[in-house]
Amino acid sequence: MRRIPAAGLILRYLCLLTALANIGGNIGLQLGYPLLFNWLGVPPPVDARLFAIESALSFSMGVVALLIFFDTARAIPLLQIGALGKGAYAIVTSWHWALHGLHWFYLVFAVWDAVFVVIFILYWIYLESRDLTELQQSIFDGIDRPRTNRALIIGFSLTDNGRKVIHQLEAGLRNRGYQSDVIWVVAQESIFRFPMSLMDFVRIILRAFLRRPAKIAPLRVPRDDYDLVVVESPTWLLSMGAPVEAVFLDPANRRLFEGRDAVALAMSRGAYQRTAAMIVRWLERSGANVVAARGYTHVGREPRRLMSLWFYLIFRKPGFPPGLAEPHYGVSQDTLDAIANFGEDLAERSRTRPHWTLLKALGAALAP
């Protein structure tokens, strides 16, 4: 779960390496390519002007890499441009080497650029939504105000997997003195039910692909004094379930999140990353103070785990067909125990202290 700290440093300095290589190399090439080409036996460029233009473009790519090195906070668009530019150069150059007899000397640059396409995208992955990694491995400070020790848990569960998770979380919170109200999102469209027909399944998948919102019944929340709100969502086609997203789409529900500590819980067969990101961003947009995010996956190993999900949706019973499906559907007992522990930790989360907030802001500003 932890982000590898050295990785950021290595990737950043690799950007400096290609910056120096592109900037210095192209200046050197334009100054002395006849000597170098003669030494290596490379035929002179067919068109010296086009060769100079190509060098200038490569030089500018070095400047892009240098900007990435100096300003990592705004590096992602530059990394995207860099990956695109280097990728196009690598493909076109290797193409002419493979099919049109271009000298191997140019292939060296193509391979270099292909490697840096991978490095740039890895750095993009490293930098993208950095807060989500932290939210998934720790519990941030809560809002500094008296606790009511009441939690609102909003969830949606088609196959009861989410229901088990929420009950475990509720138990963990209760162990540390929290009382919870669990509110289940009720979809007003008949396709969002289990068991479902094949046609309903296809419709759910298509709607998830197009991110079409769902119609839900208004949430009936009994109180207004919660200091913690938990939102749980299943993952449908790599994103949060439409009925849960509908909660956030209704402006009337903003009051449930605004000014409260909040937690995102993403349930998934295996890929919860996008669901967790979506819940966290919705909570933030709704004015909540997100203190943690967790993603939980089904028991088992791939590809059997995904097959088990399909089999469960089709045959509606776990472990069938025997041998092909996992004997147990959904999260493991170990995971359920971990969720209960998480609930206990959540109940005991610390409050924001003004001097600590200042230190955190200072740390963030100075981070590489």
Partner: protein, 145 residues
């Protein structure tokens, strides 16, 4: 049966070369495999990068979903085209397609070198991809033999 043999005459010569290359012809096979390996690995890297990006955007979500199976679909199309152009190699191409699942998975696996909260290579979805690639490839091999 449509005659596609002169199709490349009507295209930019470079596009014709692309079609030739992705017919997995023996003379350019290694280069075709290298470029497909690169594209498949990059496909997974971009998908992972987009996983936590653009959470409000429908197009970004559609791109993420498409990239999940794109190499498998692309490979199925290539197997059909290659079987049409070089029927004698259709069965060998199925093995080469299986080989190309390796760089696809590596593209996902290496994301965990920089960030452990990624899913790595999602063998589940890649297996779904195999259910697309190989039946199509086998049918193409049987049709064009």
């Amino acid at each position: 049966m449509f005659d596609l043999s002169n199709l490349t005459r009507f295209l930019n010569p470079n596009l014709g070369e692309i079609l030739d290359l992705f017919s997995l012809a023996p003379q350019t096979l290694w280069y075709a495999l290298a470029i497909l390996s690169f594209l498949f690995a990059v496909n997974y890297l971009i998908r992972t990068a987009l996983m936590t990006a653009g959470v409000w955007s429908v197009p970004v979500h559609m791109v993420v979903c498409t990239l999940t199976l794109l190499p498998a679909i692309l490979m199925a199309a290539i197997l059909v085209w290659a079987a049409y152009r070089h029927p004698e190699r259709a069965w060998i191409n199925l093995g080469l397609a299986a080989l190309l699942y390796l760089p696809w998975g590596v593209g996902g696996a290496i994301t965990r070198l920089v960030r452990r909260d990624t899913e790595g290579a999602d063998i589940g979805w890649m297996t779904m991809g195999a259910y697309i690639t190989f039946p199509v490839g086998v049918v193409a091999a049987l049709i064009f033999r």
